[in-house]
């Protein structure tokens, strides 16, 4: 279980990384924490000729905690978010971070890396989509933004074009009165989710958004989920399970017991949202 031989280079700047990526013409992979790519290299599932290490590019590791939004450089580690080192304006971020894999993985694994890897069972795509985050993508010259909800286009597939790099993630800070709930169901601590779900209810901003992950492809995100709760207060009791089942079916999710788990995860996230405030 050793990788195929490859070259590796530490990019000094975003421009350099982007240029190397374009020049390699599909033969290169970006690496930051390496927590997903490392095993794939060892299993020889990934066989890049060149690894471009972007973890040393200063602007990718910066986190800014502003009044209206938290901006995470794509190479900010999950552990930094867990510890509040990347700001604490959105408590849900630390809650999500603390249950991603194991601490050793969180120490190296990055939020941006998780989004780019686009593993359907990952936590960040679901959680950040529920929070209404978007990602800023650069091709080394110009930038564009894409909502997290639309960033993953399939299992292990994203909206990144050749030569593009995810630079940072912008997460809007919910209002003081907002409520959120995050549930991750796993067979044991540290494992990938069997089901994960997030609920954000922010009346001041007119937001009632849900996201359900650990499906076959990208998370199911419902931007206006009031109807799922009968228009009233959000909670497990009010959840229209039939409607949710239909949505999950249309989204291409699994049936049977697996779907029941996703529904349960969302119901419990809704109950937590009823109990947890976004700011304490």
């Amino acid at each position: 279980m050793k990788p195929v031989a490859f070259e590796t280079v530490r990019a000094a700047s975003l421009a350099e990384a982007s240029r190397l990526l374009r020049e390699a013409g599909g033969g290169a992979k970006l690496v930051a924490g390496g927590q997903s790519l490392g095993p794939m290299l060892n299993l020889r599932l990934a066989r890049p000729r060149l690894l471009i290490d972007v973890a040393g590019i200063a602007e990718l590791t910066v986190a800014v905690d502003a009044a209206d939004q938290v901006v995470l450089g794509s190479c900010v580690t999950t552990a930094a978010v867990e510890d509040g080192r990347a700001g604490d304006a959105i408590p849900m971020l630390a809650e999500v971070a603390g249950h991603v894999a194991y601490r050793a993985v969180r120490n190296r694994g990055t939020v941006g890396g998780s989004l780019c890897h686009a593993d359907p069972a990952a936590d960040w795509p679901t959680a950040l989509a529920a929070l209404g985050a978007d990602v800023i993508i650069s091709d080394g010259r110009t930038e564009r933004s894409v909502p997290v909800a639309g960033f993953a286009t399939g299992a292990f597939e994203t909206a990144l074009a050749p030569g593009e790099i995810l630079v940072r993630i912008r997460v809007p800070v919910p209002s003081h009165s907002a409520a959120w709930g995050w549930v991750k169901l796993t067979r044991k601590a540290g494992e990938f989710a069997l089901a994960n779900a997030a609920v954000l209810v922010d009346h001041e901003r007119g937001i009632c958004r849900i996201a359900i992950g650990a499906l076959r492809g990208p998370p199911l995100v419902v931007g206006d989920a009031r109807g799922l709760f009968g228009g009233g207060p959000v909670g497990a009791g009010a959840l229209d399970r039939v409607a949710l089942n239909r949505l999950l079916g249309a989204h291409g999710g699994d049936g049977g017991t697996e779907r029941a788990l996703h529904v349960t995860a969302l119901a419990r996230a809704a109950d937590r949202a009823a109990a947890v405030r976004s700011r304490t």
Binding site: M1, K2, P3, V4, A5, P39, L43, R44, L185, R187, K188, A189, G190, E191, F192, L194, G256, T257, E258, A260, L261, T264
Partner: protein, 780 residues
């Protein structure tokens, strides 16, 4: 009791190097000029292999069956009548019989380059339908793993003892069908071997992560056509065995051949992917078991049909027959009844060969019979523990020969259950169940009781037809010039702490200070022949041998010591590292000095064997020791997610006299965690083509620290009447009880929903499906 003798919780000698990272495992050995080996493995479960093609530029670096001229296949010959022999080629030839089977060996400077080579080797094969299910394998139209057999059955045994029409017509008939999953054993250290030619000793040296160096020595020598004296096997520090390293591996033979042929050292280290993809090799059983009982829940008889999925080949030295034979003889468990029928078969499938994993057949057997006991309890409406109490062998019946002639050597089985029931707090759990949980989960309590035959002796193993039957276990005791003690044993410690416990035994006999006793093992060059460490035998057999060697050495020391004191040996005693009379003493060092350096002071009739003794030991009665235990567990089951949390776990264990109670507790806890893995987590599924579906630890879940509560270990201590110090085998028990106890507990929790699960592991899918089915049938 001495602070470092038998019964003391002495800190483990070996931990100093382990905890400082100074252990010496196969991967830590450095021999100049070593090249690395990667294996080409079968990508399919069943195929006719037409050709293996290595690229032309790879001459001398890729080796296939065609290169291994004269190398004999692995054949585990058993004495059991009707057993069908399998011939396992060292590198596949003719047919591929399971995914992961070794086909070619690639040699390069680094492992990565060896894997590059392996990728370029082409296999030309015609895929055949695979046999992936042990029951389907018995159908007349099933594909054949070994065509020459005519069917897929290694061996089928029938027991029929005392079954009568009256028993068959008993008022209660409880039938359960139970299946256990295939598992990987996952020791912390995988397999691995380093082979080189030693021209000085004129032998092939194989450094291998094995539990049984002498068995590997025999096996490699036999396959390579060498005398056993021309093969030296070193088994250095080994990071866990559990049965996974208790066999002759094809890879070991290949490495031996490569080292002999190429003239330079070669090394192979198994990786996680090989372990998962090629070695899901244990635990897969199927039972249909019926208990016959009267209206009071008194068991009258058991009728069982058992299948063991033995995989494609019979491994050396345990053979494919072992587990099925064990199942047939152990189904009766710790219970008192006199009518028994069992048909058990070891079935060949296109999976890797089965190996005996800690607990071996007992884990599935315990699950099967305890399910019947729970079924009886449900049927007559009493506490499950009450049914156990009514049926367990009672202390006044001990020693007790059960329906299969197993000789239970003592103990109080019902008391074990009573203490476990009290410790887990069954009454309080019942009250809690009545109150209900605010989080909607359901609480359940479960129980499993079993006895654990360990330290199986000659007669037992001969009856199971094992190719290698253990006899007199030997140990060597030697007093050094400085009066220190060297102990050499053929058993092998790969986590059990024998460097500590055997020193405790030697200290108990001779009184040499614990710190001045050195236990040596793991090298066929300087240890006595042994079948080594498996079957919970080392402390009973090896410990007995160490005690016996020390006792004889003590006599010799006493004779010299008495002479030095001008005393009659009859008036002298040995202890505390001294020979004493009422008025004088000489130290062992003085005795050693006389023997080695100043022999002019020795008595004229001195034993010319000197201060080095090899002694053999066999238990007074070698039908095995019977440890026993009751496991009680409290769980919370979430009926909406199917997730199970263990809230409390109690083990009441009677392992006879405990040489080192701390180490025993560690054994019990470690085994219990593995049993929890069997009960809740571990399974390798195979698709219809025989592909194992777990390729990383994301797919194959092992229990982690967060999934295991503080396991409370309680003891009773009934000495064995048949062994030195009254010790009993204790190494496996922890892994036997948990699946049965967990199934019992989860079923107890889900009982209000009308759910009863059978089989393991109890993952969320299985639980949710059962809950959904129960709800559908209620609403229908």
């Amino acid at each position: 009791m001495s602070a470092t003798g038998v019964g003391a919780s002495v800190a483990r000698t070996e931990d100093d190097r382990f905890l400082r990272g100074r252990g010496q495992y196969v991967a830590d050995w450095r021999v100049p000029g070593t090249r690395e080996v990667a294996f080409v493995r079968s990508p399919v479960a069943h195929a006719r292999l037409r050709a293996v093609r290595a690229p032309e530029d790879c001459a001398g670096t890729v080796f296939t069956a065609a290169d291994l001229r004269g190398v004999k296949p692995v054949r585990a010959i058993t004495s059991i009548k009707g057993f069908k022999l399998s011939s396992e080629p060292i590198l596949a030839t003719g047919k591929l019989r399971f995914v992961g089977e070794v086909v070619a060996a690639c040699v390069a400077a680094t492992r990565a380059e060896a894997e590059d080579l392996a990728e370029r080797v082409e296999l030309d094969y015609e895929e055949l339908p695979a046999v992936t299910d042990m029951l389907a394998a018995r159908r007349p139209d099933a594909p054949l793993v070994h065509e020459e057999w005519g069917d897929n059955v290694f061996i089928e045994t029938v027991e029929d003892r005392g079954m009568t029409e009256a028993v068959l017509a008993a008022p209660l008939k409880i039938t359960r069908e139970i299946r256990t999953a295939r598992q990987c054993m996952f020791p912390m250290e995988g397999r691995g071997a380093l082979a080189f030619r030693d021209d000085r000793l004129r032998c092939l040296t194989l450094v291998s992560a094995t539990q049984m160096p002498h068995i590997v020595q025999l096996g490699v020598a036999d396959c390579l056509g060498l005398p056993d004296s021309a093969v030296r096997v070193i088994s250095p520090d080994v990071g866990g065995g559990f049965g996974y390293k208790g066999l002759l591996c094809r890879e070991e033979v290949v490495l031996g051949w490569l080292a002999q042929t190429l003239g330079h050292p070669v090394r192979w280290l198994e990786d996680c992917r090989e372990h998962l993809g090629a070695n899901a090799n244990c635990r897969e059983h199927h039972y249909v078991v019926t208990g016959f009982a009267d209206r009071d829940g008194r068991l009258l008889g058991i009728d069982c049909v058992a299948h063991v999925d033995a995989g494609a080949y019979s491994v050396y030295p345990t053979s494919a027959a072992l587990e099925a034979s064990m199942v047939a003889s152990l189904i009766p468990g710790p219970y008192d009844f006199r009518a028994y029928r069992c048909r058990s078969a070891a079935v060949a499938t296109n999976k890797c060969p089965i190996l005996p994993y800690r607990g071996v057949g007992r884990t599935g057997v315990c699950l099967a019979i305890e399910a019947v006991m729970d079924g009886i309890a449900r049927e007559i409406g009493v506490e499950p523990y009450e049914v156990r109490l009514r049926n367990l062998v009672r202390p006044e019946q001990m020693p007790y020969d059960n329906v299969m002639g197993r000789h239970f050597d003592g103990g109080d089985y019902p008391e074990a259950v009573r203490r476990a029931v009290a410790a887990i707090g069954v009454e309080a759990i019942r009250a809690r169940q009545t109150r209900g949980e605010s989080d909607g989960r359901l609480i359940g309590v479960g129980l499993a009781v079993f006895c654990e035959q360990g330290a199986h002796g000659t007669t037992v193993l001969a009856s199971w037809g094992r190719p290698v039957v253990p006899g007199y276990e030997q140990a060597i005791a030697r007093l050094t010039v400085d009066g220190d003690l060297e102990i050499r044993v053929g058993t092998h410690s790969h986590g059990q702490g024998h460097e500590t416990t055997f020193a405790q035994v030697a200290h108990e006999v001779l009184g040499v200070p614990f710190a001045r006793i050195r236990v040596m093992q793991g090298d066929t060059l300087y240890t006595p022949f042994s079948t080594a460490t498996w079957g919970s035998r080392s402390m009973v057999m090896g410990g007995g041998a160490v005690a016996e060697a020390c006792r004889i050495l003590g006599e010799r020391i006493k004779a010299i010591g008495a002479w030095l004191m001008q005393a009659d040996p009859a008036d002298a005693t040995v202890g505390d590292g001294c020979v004493r009379t009422a008025s004088a003493s000489v130290s062992f060092a003085e005795v050693a000095r006389a023997w080695y350096l100043q022999p002019q002071h020795l008595p004229p009739d001195v034993d010319t064997g000197g201060l080095e003794v090899t002694a053999g030991y066999r238990a007074k009665r070698d039908s095995g020791t019977f440890s026993y235990a009751a496991h009680a567990v409290c769980v919370a089951v979430d009926p909406e997610t199917g997730l199970v949390e263990i809230l409390d776990y109690v083990v009441l264990e009677d392992g006879g006299v405990l040489v080192n109670p701390m180490i025993v507790d560690g054994q019990v806890r470690g085994g219990t965690v593995q049993g929890i893995g069997t009960g809740l987590f571990e399974a390798v599924s195979f698709d219809a083509q025989g592909q194992p579906l777990a390729s990383t630890l994301v797919d194959y879940l092992l229990p982690g620290a967060g999934d295991v509560p503080e396991i409370r270990v309680l003891h009773m201590e009934t000495p064995s009447p048949n062994t030195t110090f009254g010790a009993k085998g204790i190494g496996e028990g922890g892994a036997i009880g948990p699946p049965a106890a967990l199934v019992s507990a989860v079923n107890d929790a889900l009982r209000p929903l009308g759910v009863e699960l059978q089989g393991v592991p109890l993952g969320p899918e299985r639980i949710l499906a059962a809950v959904a089915a129960a709800r559908a049938s209620t609403s229908a």
